[in-house]
Symmetry: C2
Amino acid sequence: MNTPILDIARRARRAAAGLSVLSASKKNGALEAMARALSKNKKFILSENKKDVAAARKKGLAPSLVNRLLLSEAKLVEIAGSVALIAKLGDPVGRVLSARKRPNGLVIQKVRVPIGVILIIYESRPNVTADCMALCLKSGNSVILKGGSEALFSNRAIYRVMNGAALKAGVPEGAFEFVATGARAAVKTLLRLNEWIDLVIPRGGEGLIRQVARISKIPVIKHTKGICHVYVDKDADLEKSEAIVVNAKVQNPAVCNAMETLLVHEAAAKKFLPRVAAALREKKVELRGCDRTRAIVPGVKKASEKDWTTEYLDLVLSIRVVKNLEEAVRHIGTHGSHHSDAIVTENKKTAEVFTRAVDSACVFVNASTRFSDGGEFGMGAEMGISTDKLHARGPMGLEELTSYKYVVLGDGQTRG
Amino acid sequence: MNTPILDIARRARRAAAGLSVLSASKKNGALEAMARALSKNKKFILSENKKDVAAARKKGLAPSLVNRLLLSEAKLVEIAGSVALIAKLGDPVGRVLSARKRPNGLVIQKVRVPIGVILIIYESRPNVTADCMALCLKSGNSVILKGGSEALFSNRAIYRVMNGAALKAGVPEGAFEFVATGARAAVKTLLRLNEWIDLVIPRGGEGLIRQVARISKIPVIKHTKGICHVYVDKDADLEKSEAIVVNAKVQNPAVCNAMETLLVHEAAAKKFLPRVAAALREKKVELRGCDRTRAIVPGVKKASEKDWTTEYLDLVLSIRVVKNLEEAVRHIGTHGSHHSDAIVTENKKTAEVFTRAVDSACVFVNASTRFSDGGEFGMGAEMGISTDKLHARGPMGLEELTSYKYVVLGDGQTRG
């Protein structure tokens, strides 16, 4: 057993008890201090960030990856703003979720409590460090941060600045723990500590997430891929359809809630496909389609079976003409990733069947899949998006970082 | 890969889609038919049960274990009654848990949905077969039943009778699957099928549960032990204290929510311990105590360190005198199992500190730990009690067998 790693988990566990009873005002005061500290120490953070960026460039990382690493004054203002915003959200801890009085007089309350110790394993983006620290503190959990080695200097700088401010504001030591070693062995050790750690949230590429899920002894909440669909029904408004399809594909193709496959009802295909193809091509989207699509739109590359299960994360779209709603639902069930899927239709009944039958975390009617996001859902901030079905599904905010306990109030009741 | 086992899982997965959209009236009709079928076929079930009981006696099983296996007409009436009761509970599926309108006009609904396919691995009691079938159907989940080999004939008879009635009432084939083979290899195969099965609930002894948790690739909800405490505070009403302590220990010592350790504030010990010791001894409870307990009550055996972490499930009680509330909370945190713990006190502030600081699924004030039960909590029926903190904690009823999805209603919104 790797002792420093075990010590980290032990400190986090010890802190969890204190955190769980920390008052809302103390937590909010600490969050505000942490936000201020980020602004005050921007020079230090930016100079540490330069080390990561220089190393990444030297290593020949792709410009898009270097860009994800890069911090700026503006970016730091945004990160601090997000921490300050979390201070303003309602405190989930201690909230009574339900209460009922039993015939014997017992009052049974279901009360929100923190989960305990949460381990975050993440890649690249240094803002995740700040977001996770803020969300975990607000929800009363200790957090162990294990970021990617490529962002080590940036993550550690943000951690040090925020942790220092938090300790001064009365947050117990151990509430935030940082795993500095980049070694894979550290992750393996952490994932075996199910006695000390309650939950793991991996954030990053599919490879990382699958590996964590495979070896973890601790429960994992994850999302592996986002293969999102838009289905344009025979009763769709074609103007709305075009706007939604273009938005879902183009507005930010590199993220998990972008559309990867367009399904079109055969009755709408002849009218809709040529216009949407033109709009998408104007935005430089490469189109791959089934034979029926190719018969309607010239120049579309033939989609292979593999296209239906590929998360392009790029300006590429696969298109399929379907016979009816059932075939669309079946396609999504077979090839999708249970993340976010949309229907465009003016028919309420059709929309209802679709939202019931599609087994995805988020199902949209007449709206872009790009709205699948904690901020857009009004949660204030998000810890990631879950495509699992246990505990948390879809965008994870503060509530999803809590558990509950039953508090039962009696006046001497015994069971007969 | 064991093909028949894989086929079982595939059938269950296929059925889950149909079950998730089955109407409440169809499900309730099927449940009523299943309850009637149990009564109609009591002769068949009881004669099958005799085979298990005879084999158990031949094997020399302990009388208490034989007793758990044994069915009777009265027991079958009770089992059928419980199935009929579940028909009368509200349908959890499709319930809107929250809804909010965003500034852009999007309406974001959080809607309860079934989890999918649930695997139950259980020992002995044949009533678990009926309970799990009823609860899973009502919550819209497929269930795969893997009972212990010692109850194979009884479980299969109940399964056949209920499944036959359900199919006739329109429940999709595959909603109930029964694993007849007693081989351990079958369990190992099942626990690897995380693509087909969404959740495993093991019910039985600690050994079974730990083994399932260790090898499962599927998420597990479990409770390993019930080391429950009653803490009698310095401000406790001693009459209530005595009634609660005796009830928590004696009313059914063989179950997980029975008390195993009594903690007494030092200011109450001299007055309370002699009277409660007399009451417990009258009920044939063996007492083991710390030195301070033994100085007050003669003839108490010295408790070893091991006593504080032992689930006796028997008429044995360990007793410890503590300096104050903090020491009681610390003892429970160190030695307890996060299941059910109680305080007896007339001091509201003390009760509040206790309920916040004790990290257990159920925390009682002035009531017996024996109330930790789905039926007693008003859930109608229970699937088990979870000492985990993710997804479900404490007694698991219908709601705990569900997940949720977000249904987002728009009229053409795109993300800017």
